[in-house]
């Protein structure tokens, strides 16, 4: 099949990103936007806009029936779900399929298997991937029982989760009940499912992930990304390839990701996430994100592959045109997320109007953002304002380029994560590469 009209069931920078590639491929775009986003940059850029509901996500971007109805009414033949929202929701993919609209993403069976952390673990184990001790629990008693098995510190994660929502670290048994209540409330609000997963917390771990591409038959990888610098388990800085790691360790992780993708007949772009021991490079499978990732541009920078284009081609039923040997990563790329959050006030969200948004520009600098001068950051959605991506021949040069880019960036008037990124970019541990997930707490103010 050919996609002629693509419905974008998302917002913000990723909606704009999808529009850019669709337009280059000659595909018309319809943005399914909330009322709060009706005058956003992606709404201006899309060929058509369909309002899916009011600001709150539960009544708009997460309302399956409304989004499907809007896509149908617009006459779209495919839907791109972006990341977050309904991107990994099997019911959504099924409803679209029933409406005769192609879902740009993996099969419904894959979404069901990978959306549930327990099922994902089982599939990974079948494919021969190592996993961490832990398990699912529904009631406080069951959570306490699991906690006794894994020991402390432990992690509570939303079973239906992703993006750090509904995730809490618990250091002591007496903190368990309070943390569980908050994690379940967030899981319910973000995903409509309060079930949690209890997992052992590895102290000096790195978060390394592998970009995979599959067409249902063949699968390849596009190298690693390191996303160890996180706050509240949400990524702040991502880079490709994973630095300061022996080649054979990197290759072992890449091979494991491809093994999993082949085992489940993966279709489209996906990301296998691993927890890697910062000292001996042993690794554990965490989850497979069956969608495009926020940090996909660093992989695009080092491989030259347009991942959105690959997603659309696979969705059209085309076999992968890339082979493993055609993927030749060059140089190093780093992405920083500029969020509307105050890093000096525990990352408190700071929605509002960006009076001025002066983003960096220059060779080796890419900015993916939906925030221009005068644009609004509504309180309903996540805080991402834009991503600054730098690419250079070596990691050392990339770090220098990042420092220069951040020194010219200026966003007025809300607090953003930019000052924090300046401190990170200037930190000798970051310059050396290979930091663990505890990096931020060791950062000098």
């Amino acid at each position: 099949m050919t996609i002629r009209k693509l419905f974008i069931a998302n917002r913000g920078e990723i909606a704009l990103r999808v529009i850019r590639t669709a337009r280059r491929m000659g595909i018309a775009t319809v943005l399914g936007a909330s009322e709060a986003d009706a005058a956003s940059l992606p709404a201006l850029e899309a060929d058509e806009v369909a309002i899916v509901g009011p600001g709150p996500s539960s009544q708009g971007y997460l309302a399956i029936d409304r989004v499907v109805a809007a896509a149908k009414a617009a006459g779209a033949d495919a839907v791109h779900p972006g990341y977050g929202f309904l991107s990994e929701n099997a019911d959504f993919a099924r409803a679209m399929a029933e409406a005769g609209i192609t879902f740009v993403g993996p099969s419904i069976a894959t979404l069901e298997g990978m959306g549930d952390k327990l099922a994902a673990r089982r599939l990974a184990t079948e494919a021969g991937l190592p996993v961490l001790p832990g398990g699912e629990a529904q009631t406080p008693e069951a959570v306490r029982q699991r906690a006794a098995e894994t020991g402390y510190p432990l992690l509570l994660k939303a079973v239906a989760g992703g993006g750090g929502k509904g995730m809490r670290r618990v250091d002591r048994p007496e903190d368990l009940d309070a943390a569980l209540a908050m994690a379940q409330a967030e899981a319910q609000a973000s995903f409509g499912n309060p079930a949690v997963y209890v997992e052992r917390f590895v102290a000096r771990g790195r978060h390394v992930e592998v970009q995979v591409l599959g067409d249902g038959v063949r699968a390849i990888h596009l190298g690693t990304r390191d996303c160890s610098i996180q706050r509240r388990f949400q990524k702040l800085v991502e880079e490709a390839p994973a630095p300061a790691m022996p080649d054979d360790a990197r290759a072992a992780i890449e091979a494991a990701a491809v093994r999993l993708a082949r085992h489940i007949g993966y279709r489209g772009a996906g990301t296998a996430e691993f927890l890697v021991d910062a000292d001996d490079f042993s690794f554990f499978f965490l989850e497979l994100n069956a969608r495009i990732q926020v940090e996909h541009p660093v992989t695009e920078a080092i491989t030259g592959v347009d991942l959105i284009e690959q997603q659309l081609l696979v969705a059209m039923g085309k076999p992968l045109s890339l082979t493993q040997s055609m993927v030749r990563p060059t140089g190093a790329a780093i992405e920083v997320r500029i969020n509307a959050e105050d890093p000096d006030a525990d990352f408190r969200p700071s929605p509002g109007t960006a009076i001025r948004a002066a983003w960096p520009a220059g060779p080796g600098v890419r900015v993916d953002s939906h925030i221009a001068n005068g644009c609004e950051v509504p309180p309903f959605y996540d805080s991402l304002m834009g991503k600054v991506i730098v690419h250079a021949a070596t990691r050392e040069e990339a770090v220098r380029r990042l420092q220069a880019a951040l020194s010219s960036l200026e966003i007025d008037v809300m607090p953003t994560t930019a000052p924090l990124h300046r401190r990170i970019a200037a930190d000798p541990r970051f310059a050396a590469g290979g930091v663990d997930t505890g990096f931020l707490s060791g950062l000098q103010a």
């Binding site: 600001g55 409330a185 408190r348 644009c375 509504p378 010219s408």
Partner: protein
């Protein structure tokens, strides 16, 4: 809505490279749809910035932005968002009128940008009234709960 996106990030990088090797410090480009300013920052090794202004672009988010009345006895919303009385639907509320609270007592949560942010009482006292309804959109600084000393 347009036939074409004006410039890709590769275009911006190229134009910046041209500017960098010229004697010019900035470039302004205006069309009906947008205004772009590429400018060199102050200082010798300052980089370039790109600033975009789009005709018709704004958020138009109407999350109750009336500023709150200053109420010295009220616990104010520390940030805008949706105010909840209880940790989850059906659960008992964090506090009720008559409850004694300390500065660290959690009196409610505000959901902003998909995060649950606890609201602390901030000082000791007795809850006299819960002003903002459960599930209401509240502005930063809006009075949520009244506290007697």
């Amino acid at each position: 809505m347009s036939d074409d996106l004006p410039l890709t990030h590769e275009d911006i990088a190229e134009i910046t490279a041209i500017l960098e090797n010229s004697g010019y410090r900035e470039l302004d480009l205006s069309t009906r749809r947008f205004h772009l300013r590429l400018a060199r920052g102050d200082g010798d090794d300052a980089g370039f910035t790109q600033e975009w202004q789009w005709a018709g672009a704004s958020g138009a988010a109407e999350a109750s932005t009336e500023s709150a009345e200053a109420d010295p006895d009220a616990i104010a919303a520390p940030l805008p968002g949706t105010f909840y009385h209880a940790p989850q639907p059906g659960a008992p509320p964090f506090v009720q009128p008559g409850d004694e609270v300390g500065p660290e007592t959690v009196v409610g949560i505000i959901e902003t940008m998909k995060l649950m942010n606890p609201v602390h009482a901030g000082r000791s006292g007795t809850i006299s009234e819960v002003i903002a309804p459960n599930g209401a959109m509240v502005a930063k600084g809006q009075a949520l709960i009244r506290l007697n000393r």
